[in-house]
């Protein structure tokens, strides 16, 4: 039985005890968020000399630009691709490593490694391998397999490249969680199924996967958020949104207009829209997907 404390008669004390936490939240979360919200309604120069309250002008400028709708479409492809490949690859590697008898720690280390690489550096690395003029892998694709690989001009090639690069970084993270979840499954359950004659695939579908569904759901949410918010470094290093806007995802536009372009109003308006989108998406995930998740009792 968990001990509960009732503050009904000591409300001031309750608020006093909550205060430090609320203060931290207010300073580091609510205040910046409120600033962003306020800036979304202003047009201002970077040095803060002039600031005009313009109501919804920034939102109008964002939402009337054809490039922005292209960006939403690209973001949908990018985040679906990145999340799906990162989660599936993480799960695949975890299942394989879970079954390895010897040298488990070596595999584990090798797969966790990419997580330690900074996103911008990862981008540069990938660019160097896949640059159509001098990239080692690109030349191999072209000369060895006759594949006309050119992410600098072909939008699909570029999208594929940024998805793989973004997913590559996140696979390690997913791998760690999946491996931990797999190792928490009681061996007796799997052995019992094996005695009943269930093969490895049957055991995975009927026993293992339902048991790790809370982890899968958690990773799905985390990976979607990663794809939406955390990938501008890779895009900047690899394609800068190109060619012709093919990889110009929403968060990269926020970064490019805000940090590079110093148009804080336009960038804030976009981040407010992005925030609303991601909150909506996460709500949908919780509403429809979480129902299928079986949490342990």
């Amino acid at each position: 039985m968990i001990k509960r404390v009732n503050f009904q008669r000591h409300k001031p004390l309750a608020f006093l005890l909550l205060a430090p936490q609320m203060l931290v939240l207010a300073i580091f979360v609510f205040w910046p968020a409120a600033q962003a919200l306020y800036q979304a309604f202003t047009i201002t120069d970077p040095f803060g000399q002039h600031s005009t309250f313009v109501w919804f002008d920034n939102f109008r400028d964002v939402l009337t630009s054809p490039e922005y709708f292209n960006s939403i479409y690209r973001t949908a492809i990018f985040s679906t691709g990145t999340t799906a490949s990162a989660v599936l690859a993480g799960l695949g590697f975890a299942v394989l490593v879970d079954r390895v008898a010897r040298g488990k720690s070596v595999y584990r280390l090798m797969i966790i490694w990419p997580y330690a690489v900074a996103p911008v550096l990862a981008g540069v690395l990938w660019l160097f391998l896949f640059h159509p003029i001098y990239g080692a892998i690109a030349l191999m694709l072209k000369q060895g397999f006759g594949i006309p690989w050119n992410p600098l001009l072909d939008g699909s090639d570029a999208m594929l490249l940024v998805i793989v690069a973004a997913a590559w970084k996140q696979v390690s993270y997913n791998f760690v969680f999946f491996l931990a979840a797999l190792q928490a499954i009681p061996r007796s359950l799997i052995e019992a199924a094996a005695i009943d004659g269930a093969g490895p695939i049957r055991r995975f579908v009927s026993i293992v996967f339902p048991l790790i569904s809370p982890t899968t759901f958690f990773l799905l949410v985390i990976n979607v958020v990663y794809a939406f918010f955390d990938t501008f470094g890779i895009i900047h290093a690899l394609t800068q949104g190109g060619p012709g806007g093919a990889t110009d995802i929403l968060v990269y536009k926020v970064y490019a207009d805000g940090f590079l372009g110093l148009d804080l109003g336009l960038s804030s308006a976009q981040s407010v829209i992005l925030m609303i989108l991601v909150i909506g998406l996460t709500a949908v995930q919780f509403r429809y997907l979480e129902r299928r998740v079986k949490y342990a009792q």
Partner: protein, 435 residues
């Protein structure tokens, strides 16, 4: 234990006392982007100033990329902690001019009693950073201009003995070079700088109204109505038949494409000289940018960082800032900087000095930029591009150029779209400044 602590304390106190006793020189904060191999040359410049006198000490601090440095400076300005000196990329000139944070270099040097004959400077270099009444705002620092680089060994293989002079001649050269085995005939760094900005200035064409924005914030782009469209269309046909290979935005990807020997020709900043020298395993030469047959070429447009002096510091500190700037502009320092980094010298004296040393006989590539910016007489079309939000409109333009290379749009469609998007960005810049 106690004794040791006491000893340490005494040590700190005496060290502190010693540093005070040496009448600490006045510190001058200097924020600059980290420029890789060039940082060493910068350090030598600063050391030579610090060692030449004891009243002032310049403290340099690398702040990452140009964009990161600019962001750091804005944060510093808003928190009242600006450096004295800041390096800003040329495209940020309009933002700086309107920031309210600037002490124009020409005013500072005049106020501190430096009698500088600005006629002794290479005019097209200064012009980029001048107001319309010819006042110099910032001191050109890491300045270059795009030129044509070519693989001399490759030229010999294709039976070519001199660089192409016109763009059409260049097209013929590329056909021969492709026949001689170069899969990539030509690539370009900074495609927008080369094929829109410099193409326009060399042919005395306006990029935007109001003398490319020099006369006011209401300027609008006009390059979709000039020969720029013809130039982009020609490049599109070169992409189609393999003569031009697109190597990516900005400058970093073109250099290895040329230095690895894969591309026979490249248009790129004159400042890539030092990195080509370090990495190219063949003989390479440089030539001025080609122009259209039947025209007389004007000066090309420069680009790169300039040193800005920021407001809000003490008078005695500004004395030191002026002394430092005068030191940097001296012929000795300019000549050394030019040779060490591949950036252009800003004074005629420095250029003459380097020439007299016979340096250009050995490295003729280094002289091309200087003669190219002095072709023809500067006009109001060729003086500068003074437009705001450059990072954004350049990104939009590069995006549209990619659509041309990928054959998704015609040159005219893409330039129209780039101009439409660019003008929206310029109008936002105006509103940001309270207009």
């Amino acid at each position: 234990m106690r004794k040791r602590l006491l000893g340490a304390f005494a040590g700190i106190v005496s060290a502190f006392a010693a540093s005070v006793a040496a009448a600490a020189p006045i510190e001058i904060q200097f924020w600059h982007p980290t420029l890789g191999p060039i940082d060493d040359a910068l350090k030598q410049q600063i050391d030579s100033f610090n060692n030449s006198q004891s009243a002032y000490k310049v403290v340099a601090s690398g702040r990452g990329t140009y964009d990161e440095t600019f962001n750091a400076a804005i944060a510093g300005f808003r928190a009242n902690k600006s450096p004295h000196l800041l390096v800003v990329i040329g495209q940020g000139t309009q933002s700086m001019l309107l920031s309210g944070a600037v002490y124009p270099v020409q005013d500072l040097l005049a106020a501190e009693g430096y009698k500088i004959d600005w006629d002794n400077y290479i005019q097209p270099v200064l012009n980029y950073y001048r107001t319309k009444d010819m006042k110099l705002l910032s001191l050109p620092f890491s300045v270059s201009t795009p030129i044509l680089w070519y693989n001399k060994d490759g030229f010999a293989k294709a039976g070519l003995t001199r660089p192409p002079v016109t763009w059409d001649e260049m097209g013929e050269y590329l056909t021969k070079l492709r026949a001689a085995g170069f899969e990539c005939g030509y690539t370009s760094g900074w495609q927008q700088w080369v094929h829109v900005d410099n193409y326009s200035t060399i042919h005395d064409l306006p990029i935007a109204t109001l003398h490319n924005g020099l006369d006011g914030l209401a300027a609008t782009f006009t390059y979709n109505k000039t020969d720029v469209v013809k130039n982009i269309a020609r490049l599109q046909s070169w992409v189609a038949d393999g003569r031009y290979t697109y190597s990516g935005r900005q400058g970093s990807s073109a250099t290895p494409a040329f230095a690895s020997g894969r591309c026979a020709m490249m248009t790129h900043s004159s400042a890539v000289f030092s990195s080509l020298q370090a990495s190219a395993k063949f003989a390479f030469e440089a030539a001025p940018l080609p122009y259209e047959a039947g025209t007389t070429p004007h000066n090309s447009l420069i680009g790169g960082g300039a040193l800005w002096v920021l407001k809000g510091h003490k008078p005695e500190e500004y004395k030191g800032v002026a002394a430092f700037l005068a030191h940097l502009a001296s012929p000795d320092q300019q000549a050394k900087w030019h040779k060490d980094t591949g950036y252009m010298p800003i004074t005629k004296a420095a250029y003459e000095k380097v020439k007299a040393e016979g340096y250009y006989d050995k490295y003729p590539q280094q002289e091309v930029a200087i003669t190219q910016v002095q072709r023809g007489t500067p006009t109001l079309n060729t003086m500068t591009v003074r437009l705001g939000n450059a990072n954004q409109y350049v990104a939009a333009l590069e995006e549209e150029m990619e659509a041309v290379w990928a054959n998704k749009k015609t040159a005219q469609q893409a330039m129209d779209d780039a101009v439409r998007r660019g003008n929206e960005i310029l109008r936002r810049f105006e509103r940001q400044r309270g207009n």
